[in-house]
Amino acid sequence: MTDNKLINLVNISKSYGDNIVLDELNLYIRENEFLTLLGPSGCGKTTTLRIIGGFENPDQGQVIFEGKDITRTAPNERQLNTVFQKYALFNHLTIAENIAFGLKIKKKSKAYIDDKIKYALKLVNLDGFENRMPNSLSGGQQQRIAIARAIVNEPKVLLLDEPLGALDLKLRQDMQYELIRLKNELGITFIYVTHDQEEALTMSDTIVVMNQGYIQQIGTPEDIYNEPQNAFVADFIGESNIIPSIMIEDKLVNILGTNFACVDTGFGRNKPVDVVIRPEDIDLVKPEEGTIKGVVTSLLFKGVHYEMEVHAHGHDWLVHSTDLSPVGSEVGISVDPYDIQIMNKPESEDEEAVELEI
């Protein structure tokens, strides 16, 4: 990954009728980056991808590719290729013909095309599939062919629209590793759309969390997970306890009537805030050792850990722990200061959608 900005989206807006899908979106993508657009359905992530691919025209704004404005350029004139949601393979053509499609249009020589087909099939671990028809392949195999068909054209950027969405979980995990390997071998930029936070955390260099047409947060997977900037991101990425609290002063927050030490500063004095605490960051200790006391109300075995709910100070705290505390037992809750994440409370609905300066 370099610092070279390959694609720059400037003030992109798009609406269908009254429904605003994207509102003045700004985003850049660096060369060689694995960037993921993450968000719930209807957040505008797919529309963003389709605008980059050229399948939708933005109502307003520009798409800059290597310094050139390509906003109105037709998809077939763009130096990028797409892997579609449901693969969109040409069912009337063989696998080889599917892969050769783009190259034949560019009038490449037959030897070159044959070479490329072999190379691409090897890359996606499907050697010898040249003469099969797409219908005779499993979902995972069709997915690989869709990727092979795109990459033989040597695009600078590969756009992937929820490419693993139709696969079952085991296969999806295998494909995640495949995609990371592919990206490393090809050394090109990936723009990846998904609603699966786990997928995003596993594969990306950069995650862009979106909701209702706005970018909520941009950052590395670690940033996004450990330091969500607002309640939406915290709630969407993994499980968490989000508790309305009061920031007493720097490094001290009052949660449900009890003061907790934290590490955040600069929120002012006696200011209402939201506190995010990940369930695995809560330590259950003996009642007298905890900052606050509570009673375990439910217990589920989840394999690697137990999931417990602790009722304390009028709030049900979600706790993940490898140690078991039986239902009904009294426990103390303790949280390390750096595991408490403080977020500004949105003053109105609008502010919930933070517009980020990039």
């Binding site: 040409f90 009337h92 054209n153 079952d168 085991k170």
Partner: protein
């Protein structure tokens, strides 16, 4: 998070997939098809055997090929050739008119499919004989077109009672049967398939030739059969718009039956059926299980 994976992978596969066809879980439904099978044998298979019997025998129940050979009679041969020509031309015209129409309708995203289908088949609710008769009104010497032409002092158009009028009648009556199958195939093409072609560098003409056209072929073939067969065998359209001088093979057969010459009529029908069978064979090759082409 790993736990979730385990739980998901052990989810049992749905048993319906084993049966191939969705069997509805009803164990024994075969008997439900018995009335239909009986009906089809009684009123489709046996009648076709009867026509075969009549076509291959004489009045005295002797085996003969004369009925079939009567197609070689110059008058009959000419009527067959004319029917083939006219139905070929009208099929081509229907295709040329219908394909762009189906593409425009597909693109227009009008309120709903059923609305478009309704508009195309609604004319069929006016009796087909009457609609054809109305064309007499439009085309005849004192008809609407000529009245307009006369008003502007333009030369008269004399196509009533000519093969052109018959072609027009065929195109008019059977155009919906070409539009609907093509439209139905086009709307089923995933937009992302077309996007994928564009994405891979194809311009709109290349996308049409390499993707849309081949994918719509089942609809086209189905449309061709559904226009060609009724055009080839019609006797009504030629009767109404062609006057008494133009005789198609359908007219010949109808006439044979009207004068009670059933054996000759059956023989000629068998010849006609050869052409129908050929087009049915082509259709079934392209349209497995009737998925691509049915109009409804």
């Amino acid at each position: 998070m790993k736990i979730r994976n385990v739980l998901n992978t052990i989810t049992p596969k749905t048993p319906s997939q084993k049966n191939g066809a969705g069997s509805l879980g009803i164990r024994n439904t075969k008997w439900l098809s018995f009335p239909y099978i009986l009906w089809m044998v009684g009123f489709i298979i046996i009648p076709l055997i009867v026509i075969l019997y009549y076509g291959l025998t004489t009045n005295d129940k002797l085996l003969t090929l004369d009925n079939i050979k009567s197609i070689l009679d110059p008058i009959n041969l000419r009527s067959l050739r004319l029917a083939l020509e006219l139905s070929f031309v009208s099929t081509v015209i229907c295709l040329l008119l219908a394909y762009p129409l189906a593409m425009i309708l597909n693109k227009s995203k009008m309120k709903s499919n059923s609305f478009i289908v309704m508009i195309i088949i609604l004319p069929m609710w006016m009796n087909f004989l009457l609609r054809t008769i109305a064309w007499q009104n439009i085309l005849e010497r004192t008809g609407i077109i000529n009245t307009v032409l006369k008003f502007f002092n333009l030369p008269m158009l004399n196509i009533i009672n000519t093969p052109s009028a018959i072609i027009l009648g065929m195109v008019y009556n059977f155009l919906p049967f070409m539009v609907l199958p093509i439209y139905n195939v086009l709307i089923k093409i995933d937009k992302d398939i077309i996007n994928a072609a564009r994405d891979l560098g194809a311009n709109s003409i290349q996308t049409f030739l390499k993707i849309i056209l081949p994918l719509s072929l089942p609809g086209v073939i189905s449309g061709i059969t559904m226009v060609f067969v009724p055009s080839l065998t019609t006797f009504v359209i030629s009767n109404i718009l062609g006057g008494s001088k133009i005789v198609l093979i359908g007219n010949v057969i109808e006439q044979q039956f009207r004068i009670g010459n059933w054996h000759a009529g059956s023989g000629l029908s068998l010849v006609l059926m050869i052409f129908i069978l050929i087009s049915m064979a082509i259709l079934s090759k392209y349209d497995k299980e009737g998925e691509g082409g049915s109009i409804w």
